[in-house]
Every structure is written in C-alpha cells, then in structure tokens.
Symmetry: C2
Subunit: 309 residues, 2 copies
C-alpha cells in the first residue's frame, strides 16, 4: 500500500491528502436541509448530510489527489449512523481509486490493539469465515502504550500490505507538554521517531519506504527537519497545513531529496474552501468546485516550495 501511495503521488504530482472531516457547520445549508427533510434533525439526518457532502468533495477532487483522510471522530460523534457514513465514505473513496487513511488514533494494550488492527486494516474471524469491517488502507496510531500497542498494527500491515502513521509530534499547540519533554537530553518525539524507524525496518515496501510512517505537524517545521533524518525510511503524514497555520515553505524539510517521504493534509482549507474569501465566488452550491480550486492552489504552493529549496 505504501508503494501504491507513492505511485499515486507520482501520477498526480500532488503529495496531498484531503481531510474529510466535515462538521455540520461546514456543510452547505441546502445539503443539511435535504438530509433533515428525509431523516429529521436526528443522528441519521446528520450522517446523511455528512455523506452527501463528502460525495460532492470526492467527485470534485478525486482525479487530482492520491489520498483522503477521514477523521473518524467527526463521524463517531453521530453514533452508529455516523459510523455507517464513515464506512460508506471509505468504500466510496476506495471505489474511486483513492488511498484511504483512517485518522483513528487508536492504541491500546496488545490484545486490544489486535482488535483495532483487525477492524480497521485487517480481517476478523467470524465462525469459519474471514470478514472485513472498516477496511481502510492506512490508519493513524497512538504510541503512548509502547510497542505492544503498536506491533499488532505492524503485523497486519505486513500481512495485508496496509500501512500506519504513528503519532510522533502532533500539530496542536499543547503537543509539547509531553512530546517535547527531554529524556536524557532528547525530546520524547525523537525517541518515538526512533521507534517508528525501528518498527518500519521490519516492514519495508519495494520503493524504499516502510509501511510504518509518522505524523508530524506542519506547525513544527524545525522538528520536522530533525525527524526527517531520524526516520529516513518513514513517510511523514503532515497535518496542520492551511487552517492550522502551516504554509508551503514550512514543509520542505519534511520531504527527502527524492521529493518523496511526505504527504501534506489539508482539511477545512479544502473542504470548506467555499467559505474563504478567495473562493467565495463559487458559492455554497458549487462547494466542490471551490475545493478543486483550493487543491490546485495547494499543489502549486507545495511544488513551488519544493522547486525553490
């Protein structure tokens, strides 16, 4: 799957992932109205609005990008109907040929991580049959519980050719409270980065990158530079571009000299582009076209930054 992600990045010339993280606030009124007319102002109605909105975004941008990243919390907040919309979104994106990164940030003790790994990336035994549940291509994983919480995911990556991105240095303002603390003179994120490197070496794809990647926020470019060298074989999933404040010029150090090794996520900056002044002319009705224009601008911003380094 890491090789497929790389092939798609080369094909689209866009190391970009679109975050499918819709809140109802970001969804045009006409979509919400139609969904509520059919299902009422219920969890089912909310889930329908999310799904219809996502479909419009995916249809508008799927030829431009290699991957999408649905954030499961935005679906889980609407309970079981929300998670059915998550499943439908994952399935639809895969049908469209997109690589799907489930932003689930799961992690638990070994036997429990096994269940998460089976449900999101692998298969689960039911009687004499093997069934797939959510079946994303990649998932994000939380490292607080140490190796036993991560290795069940690594095992499934190896067996099913899937991938993970382990949280190393997250994009949020308080990420440093724990992640920047010094252990023997070195920050926690570096130690976790070394673990990512070690886990990944057991799990290499054909193109020189491992199936075990890392999450490092665009909002911390200096840490990105350091982590790039700590984990040379890991793909870095970089959230925080756009709405959270990261810019193209901040991103160059996340890439290797081969122009690969990073994929930059933008969520609100793309899916709610129609609400930005720059793309306001599209209006609510044409939110998909606004998203497409925003993807093209983001691709240019990143290409320019990489060409200029």
């Amino acid at each position: 799957m890491i090789d497929r992600l790389i092939a798609k990045i080369k094909e689209t010339k866009a190391p970009i992932v679109v975050g499918l993280d819709p809140t109802l606030q970001l969804i045009p009124q006409w979509i919400q109205r139609a969904a509520f007319e059919e299902y009422g102002e219920t969890l089912e109605g909310a889930a329908e609005a999310v799904w219809q909105f996502n479909r419009g975004i995916v249809d508008a941008v799927c030829d431009l990008i290699p991957a999408v990243k649905p954030q499961i919390a935005m679906y889980e907040q609407f309970g079981v109907p929300g998670l059915a919309a998550f499943q439908r979104t994952v399935d639809y994106c895969r049908e469209k040929g997109l690589v799907v990164i489930g932003d689930i940030k799961r992690g638990d003790i070994g036997s429990t991580s096994e269940a998460y790994a089976a449900g999101h990336l692998g298969k689960v035994q039911v009687g004499s049959r093997l069934c797939s549940a959510f079946d994303e291509d990649f998932a994000t994983v939380n490292p607080y519980l140490g190796s036993d919480g991560v290795k069940p995911f690594v095992k499934v990556c190896q067996e099913q050719d899937k991938g993970i991105f382990v949280l190393v240095k997250t994009s949020n303002p308080s990420s440093g409270e724990l992640q920047d603390r010094l252990v023997d003179g070195r920050p926690v994120y570096e130690l976790v980065g070394e673990q990512v490197d070690a886990w990944g070496r057991e799990c290499m794809g054909r193109e020189g990158y491992s199936r075990v990647g890392a999450v490092v926020g665009a909002t911390y470019p200096e840490q990105g530079r350091i982590l790039r060298s700590v984990m040379p074989k890991a793909f870095i999933l970089v959230p925080g571009y756009g709405a959270q404040g990261g810019r193209g010029a901040d991103l160059v150090h996340f890439f290797n000299r081969d122009g690969l090794g990073a994929i930059i996520n933008s969520s609100r900056g793309i899916i709610a582009a129609y609400r930005q002044e720059k793309y306001a002319a599209y209006g609510e009705e044409r939110y998909g076209e606004a998203a497409r224009a925003a993807v093209l601008d983001m691709r240019e911003d990143i290409a320019g930054a990489l060409a200029g380094r």
Copy 2:
C-alpha cells in the same frame, strides 16, 4: 457521576468494574451457533453473539457491582454492526442502573477531541436539536497530545456531570517504554499524574473526588502507591487484575485511607470464568452464574486485602 459511582460502590461494597470485552473465542458455542443461524457468519452474526453474551453477564452480576467497562475495540472490530452492539450494551447497562465506563482511549487535537467528547459523553447539535450518541457515563482518554486533547472532555464532564479516566500508567508489559522515561529525574507517568490532578481540581464532585480520574495498571503496584499521593482527589481505574496477573494484595496502595479512590477492573477473569478450572462445574450453559461466583470471589479478595492493611 463520580458521586453516583461512589454511592454505588458503597451500596455494593464492591470497588469492582466488570470489563465487557468479549472476543468470539470467549463466547460459548451455543450462543455463537444461535447468532450465526439467524444472521450467518457475518459481522451482524458476530455482533448478535456479543450482545446476547453480554446480556447474560449483565443479568447475572448487575446487583453485585457498581459499574461495567465495555472495551469499544472488541465491538469496533465487527464494524458498524459491532458498534450497534456496543450502543445496545451501553443502553442496557444504564437501564439496569450500572455506571458505564466506555473504554475508548480517545484523544486528538482540540476540535477533534470535542467531537469525541460530544459523541461519547455529551450531546451533539443537529439542526435545532441536541442529540445524544453513545452516551456513556465515563470514558478513558489518551494524554499523548497534551491539554488541548483532554480539556474538551473535562468541559463536557463539568457541563454534563460525566467523568473521564486519563491513561497515566497502563497495565501492559511495554508501558514503560514511554511512560517510565525520566524527565528532570521523574517518570513521565508522574508528570501526567500531576496534570490529572490539576485538571481534576477544576472539576470536583461533592464527595471529595474529582470527575477526572486516571488509569493505572494493577500490574504496577509500586507506581500505584506513588500516583495515589500525586493525585489524591482522582479516582483510579485499575485494569490488569486477574488474567493480566494483578492480585488483591497488589491493590491496597491504589486506595485512599477512606477505602475509596480506586475501582478495580476484571474482564476475562469474570466474563470467561466458566473456562477456568475453578468455575468449570458451571459449564458453558451457566456462564453467567460462573461470572457471578467470580465476582463474589473478587469482592472477597479485595475486601480481605483492604482489611489486612
């Protein structure tokens, strides 16, 4: 809700939570057979088996215990039908008067943690209405992202009188890889314990305990002793008793002198008691009665240890 948990502990004289973490391997054949006959060897069939099994456990032990802790991964592995069984289990346990601790270990950047907090503990706005999704009483939370990942949960605890348990020192063998590393001479778990104490002071119940508790594994009694004094107002949720190796005598330091402040989880040791030699006479058919006997033994083990200190 922390006050309700305390009242239920006093009423049952059992600081015990039963972990509803069924894998299919633990579910008696006759339950699986009936479920597969109705739904086939599908995710729906697996979810039905899990739900029927849970109902038998809950019916057998609900008068003896204050709380249950469904581990969401065990449901999530069966996709949307599995999560519907999780919802059904949560609802059923609340109907039976049990406090429900959702073992979800979620945690993300602020805006995303808000969605998890709304979906699991709070309410979510849909059009003009406020809807509840999973609606547990407590949830477990991962602290790797720092305060912004935890505070949205604290806010919901305050507004809706719910509670959380933040992962501090987990029960698994590799928990020390990150949690025991020394920062300025003190282990990471102590620093997180101090944060739990600080978050909790904004969020006190009437009985002297806060709505912000902590997870500390029974398998690390010495760390439990230290953390007890670092977080005097926090309830400690203690997994790892029984199947993971913790014993009653290891647990005394997790409690305060008032006999409160800790609640001990056992999962497989209770729900799969019928598979242990000690309770084998009950057989598969009477798995609920075996669970009941195991709860009574666990209550005695803990009471004996507390009396003897």
